[in-house]
Symmetry: C2
Subunit: 478 residues, 2 copies
Amino acid sequence: MSEESIKSYFDKVDSLKSSFISRLADAVAIPSISAEPERRPDVRRMGLWLESQLKELGATDIVLKDLGIQHDTADLPLPPIVLARYGTDPDKKNILIYGHYDVQPAQLEDGWNTDPFTLIEKDDVFYGRGATDDKGPVVAWLNMLQAHKELGLEIPVNLVFCFEGMEESGSLGLEELIIAEKDEYFKGVDAVCISDNYWLGTKHPVLTYGVRGCNYYSITIEGPAADLHSGLFGGVVHEPMIDLSHIFSKLVTPKGEILIPGIQEMVAPLTTAEDKLYDAINFDLEGFEGNIGSKTVIQDNVKDALQARWRNPSLSIHGVEGAFYGAGAKTVIPAKVIGKFSIRTVPDIESAKLDQIVIKYVEDIFATLGSKNKLKAELIHDGMYWVTDPHNWSFRAAAKATKAVWNVEPDYTREGGSIPITLSFQDVLKTSVILLPIGRGDDGAHSTNEKLDLVNYIQGTKTLGAYLHYLSQEEKDA
Amino acid sequence: MSEESIKSYFDKVDSLKSSFISRLADAVAIPSISAEPERRPDVRRMGLWLESQLKELGATDIVLKDLGIQHDTADLPLPPIVLARYGTDPDKKNILIYGHYDVQPAQLEDGWNTDPFTLIEKDDVFYGRGATDDKGPVVAWLNMLQAHKELGLEIPVNLVFCFEGMEESGSLGLEELIIAEKDEYFKGVDAVCISDNYWLGTKHPVLTYGVRGCNYYSITIEGPAADLHSGLFGGVVHEPMIDLSHIFSKLVTPKGEILIPGIQEMVAPLTTAEDKLYDAINFDLEGFEGNIGSKTVIQDNVKDALQARWRNPSLSIHGVEGAFYGAGAKTVIPAKVIGKFSIRTVPDIESAKLDQIVIKYVEDIFATLGSKNKLKAELIHDGMYWVTDPHNWSFRAAAKATKAVWNVEPDYTREGGSIPITLSFQDVLKTSVILLPIGRGDDGAHSTNEKLDLVNYIQGTKTLGAYLHYLSQEEKDA
């Protein structure tokens, strides 16, 4: 495949812009929120939309994998995993493309400026739930197929698509499917490409070689049989919310230092080589502050901040279930509160050992409080971290594609957030995985007014296509 | 008025039981939640229901005092204060009856066993929001009118009714009305009776001569411009929820000791005489545990527990606005959280001085955290404590009424909860106020499955009527 072919592909992508925008608008219009049971039919509808798109664009062997009923529910069906192929040439490499078609919850009242499920353009930026996470990238893969089809240009690798509808709700059923299809649908996969994360900042393209894991815990404290009036029982009863506040304050300092002993000791030491990687990155503290929208970064330099985000564990307190959460004043002593916190994990933290340390620590702290309430600390869910070699053949191809589209060398980043399925693909399929994002660091995934810049959408579509071309030429590592 | 009249009144009350139950059911069916703006029309509807009841029962000069638009809202009308008279004989004493017709929020999902706005009877107990707080007592006054009317029995005092619809939301507008009507509608009031609290336990009737006050505070901590993904920013950003947890933990110990210096110093010393009052009270630690539904009382003896509840300040943490409060796991770093706590006040704490101490303390603690977030601590509302002489003429009449109905001497109690309007009536009208409860200590006001026992409802109606009869005979104190 020549540089001319790539050039013709890029031109075609540019010329198809309005068609691509309309495809993204169609995708965003389906409120496929996996976390809301009443939206489950919309998630399924989104899967069917993908099926019809793939069919129209020439994909074959399309299968909607039925995952049955969601565990612990009476009759809530899981959305199907959409599998499809494009090309079966035994002389070509086989590349698995993963994406997800479900989205985070969103409603206008959360603070959106416009209806989250109507794609709205303003100043060359597209706003809508899923625009960047992950409908934009999924649709970009479809755009790539369309551009090749219209050009009559051959795709130089075989593609295996795997699009799930439960990523925002724990990827239920996906790992089992990967295991089941290892030697079936996914047989012979040479590399996996996932476009489901973001650039570090707003200007420089990146390739991502690691993600943190996440162990999410709950602390349940029970006292009175029912909520009490604080006038009647304040000062007389051990208040679960007071106990919880004391435990929360012993987990982490306001400067982000985890107070639970034994965790830092499991973190892989920072080598000089690794430390140096951080010096080359095109980002600054102002970039962080831009993402956050305020000057509340803990660290005073970007290198420390990036290491805190990528290679060090962190502990966040998310909130409290069962306490008063409304506006105004309510003089209640909540009878039972469930505190939620999570720890982001990195090499070489062992998940099971972490659980043991954390739960014992919480129990020990509670024992010192002298409270007569009852405590239960437990893991809600965990997902492992993942780190790979940022210079393997798949990354080399992606670097060339980035250079061809953006005319710069990519930055090599890790992610703070977990994408647990990355590790499953790597370990089960015994293959290399790359995270190749197209959106920017300020896209607001999981937040209000989620967006995707037009330039990222179009150049991203180019990058994904070019990656496949360079990948076909790149020699696999031993 | 003879003992026979009282006996005939008691018999009439017994015979009207089913009519009284149906009146309470009508009252509970109107979801008059003053804290929820969208329920404001229901609060008004409840006021109109009261008006029609009073009219039907022969009250005169009924006025629905329009209080205008709620401060700080665009167009939220305050519910009217319902005023009415019964009798204007210049030779009779004038007794002001206060109650409130609004209720606390309630929904089935909070943990109610039955619909909170349908009065449900089970084993001679009536469940429903407002059954005891304060629709039961308000309706008991109506029942008292009905019984007298049907008997053709004269009420030996003139009554002035004052029923408000914003008690659960700070009694907005009431104090101003008392001041405005001091020499008008409320001219010549000799005593005020409020039935809006509870027995100490479940067996022994009480008269109440004091209540704690309540200063309710919020702590607002703001950091990022919007909620963040904890994977992307955990460990990098100062988290408002972590800051708040640290501040919460510095307010009060799990054993209820307030950690803010300068408060205990303002508390009136316990005299030997006052200390002795506590020895006579019919209550025990098991009673407390029964109220609470668990063995989580802080004190190891009932006297200390009662003093903690009545004559000492306490600090309760109610919850957090803006953090994750749902079930399950959400990996969010809340951008802005508002912590809610309150302090119950007692003689001789000065409210304004307390605010100053508390807000400065919270600010000082925050300053030690080294957080770059922004903090604002402020008072949401306050209500003063009140203590009176438990042996004045109004209490003597109420003690006789209690003896006539229950055949025991009442216990003399104070309340942990605040009824700020008590103090306004006393101070503005220069009159004596009595709290004469009919419900039990385990009624669950402000909680789920709020209830009123049938026997309390019926005997309470008797007590309120008998109180008026004895009051007409009792000589006013100098």
